[in-house]
Symmetry: C2
Subunit: 304 residues, 2 copies
């Protein structure tokens, strides 16, 4: 079991040569989720050999340009590639209006169904469930309405112990329910506990995405104990005033947030373009939360 | 006197690793004009060391995403850089609505004035005149309303012959009008012809941008005799049917257009992503119009 996170862009509002604006791909088994879609996302997908047609679900955190300006181009390309399966976009209310206006202006009638699901500001919400994962939205605290997303891997069927199948003469038709956790009752009515028949269930993994936001501990319950936490760290702590004024977070604050949220691993990003390289931000975060990773474009992180 | 054209993007609708969507910068003396603004234009400006703050005029040919999706990000960045001089955007009618909606959604009130000038479909129009150049729009023939642009360098004042100033005792106050082409009348009423007093005027240069369009000879009068003609060449001529169906042009057609327009030099671009390299398109064009250049990202062409 593993989650694979690819950072397509880890910059903030003004792009730099080395950093595209925010976009990430989370892969859970064969399922690909696109999280934010800043300008250049299509090109970054190409560079990372990720195919746009693999996506059915796109999550947009908020309507600052550096988090969604790559979306219309991506949707247009899917049309040019003659996509015919539906696409689901989970996003702030006004995005549908923006995309619809752009479609009208370009005279495009998409080759596929495009569904918008408006995010709501009322606490944690289960917004989509696939065979591979459940996805929740929760409110961030930014200058405009903004959401975080949590991806919770679904438990997978347990593996059977082959010798037990023979020992108890278990018929093929019973295998699925045993793998899903049920006990087995043999022909004499004897109950064989599930644990005796199967290997322990593999742990499921969780990923939470928190960008953009001011430091806000009221968000912690939504991401408590996640395996991997992405939290924005736009500035170093010496620029706390600037961070606060702009509803952003410092690296030190991101680490404090991760510590209090009891995350296993923290990944920071959304760096201000003033930082050519980010070791100062990383070191600052590690003074509080040792297990911190600095995002960089094209970085791949696997949690297995 | 020279025009300097920088190709920021020469791809078409679906971007490739090597080709950004359409954007070009034309420099006339100290004046910078941005022509189309596909996704990634800001980054391409950085790569080419062109500063966004140098621009006061942006020209958008039409509202297919590959020609304008970089605009909102660019305008947002200028706001973050605290720009305070006005920006003028010459564009199809609906673009103002799109940008306004995105500004509202992002809660942004720009730090500078943003003026939209709607292009009109009625033949050639003088749309802006600066000290350096006059810019004209003219209609292309595409699937949606689309415009080309012609940039005509302004004549510069002629240079005086120093010895004639002394010979005719010309006062300082008369110099400007002589440099602008007037004759000189001395104190005895004798007319000294301008040609005797000045060096010949330097030639002015013209650039015309034609993208996107089906092959259409009715456009030729608008670009007759230009020094440099950019014409889209999305496909090779073997795909003429596809080009025609999609209101695009083949390389052979672009060359025929340049020949009939009596352009000095042709530059082709807007290549379909099916072409990894474009020597076939270039060779095809050169069978008809020898002086053809193939656009590539970051190519700089000077006409002097």
């Amino acid at each position: 079991m593993s989650l694979k996170l690819t950072i397509l862009g880890c910059g903030s509002a003004t792009p730099t040569i080395d950093r595209n604006p925010t976009a990430q791909v989370l892969q859970v088994l064969e399922r690909f989720f696109l999280i934010d879609c800043g300008e250049g996302t299509q090109l970054q997908m190409r560079r990372n050999k990720i195919r746009p047609r693999h996506f059915d679900h796109i999550f947009i955190s908020h309507l600052h340009g550096d988090h969604y300006l790559g979306l219309f181009g991506l949707l247009s390309s899917l049309h040019l590639y003659s996509r015919n399966k539906p696409m689901y976009v989970f996003c702030p209310p006004k995005l549908k209006e923006i995309i619809d206006l752009q479609l009208t202006a370009s005279g495009t009638r998409l080759s596929y169904e495009l569904h918008f699901h408006e995010l709501v500001e009322n606490g944690e919400q289960l917004i989509i469930e696939t065979n591979e994962a459940a996805v929740y939205s929760f409110p961030m605290n930014h200058r405009i309405p903004c959401w975080g997303f949590k991806f919770v891997e679904k438990p997978r069927p347990k593996s059977m112990k082959g010798e037990k199948i023979r020992e108890y003469n278990i018929s093929f038709s019973k295998i699925d329910e045993i793998r899903n956790g049920n006990n087995f009752v043999n022909e004499n009515g004897k109950i064989i506990p599930n644990d005796e028949l199967t290997f322990p269930a593999k742990e499921t993994r969780t990923y939470a995405f928190c960008s953009d936001t001011i430091y806000d501990e009221s968000i912690i319950p939504y991401v408590k104990g996640v395996d991997l936490l992405y939290h924005e760290a736009t500035f170093a702590h010496e620029l706390l005033d600037k961070a606060t004024n702009r509803y952003h977070t410092t690296a030190l604050q991101a680490a404090t947030f991760a510590l209090k949220a009891e995350a296993k691993t923290l990944i920071i990003g959304h760096y201000s373009s003033r930082y050519g390289e980010v070791s100062a931000l990383l070191n600052e975060a590690r003074t509080v939360f040792e297990n911190t990773i600095a995002a960089s474009d094209n970085l791949v992180i696997e949690i297995s």
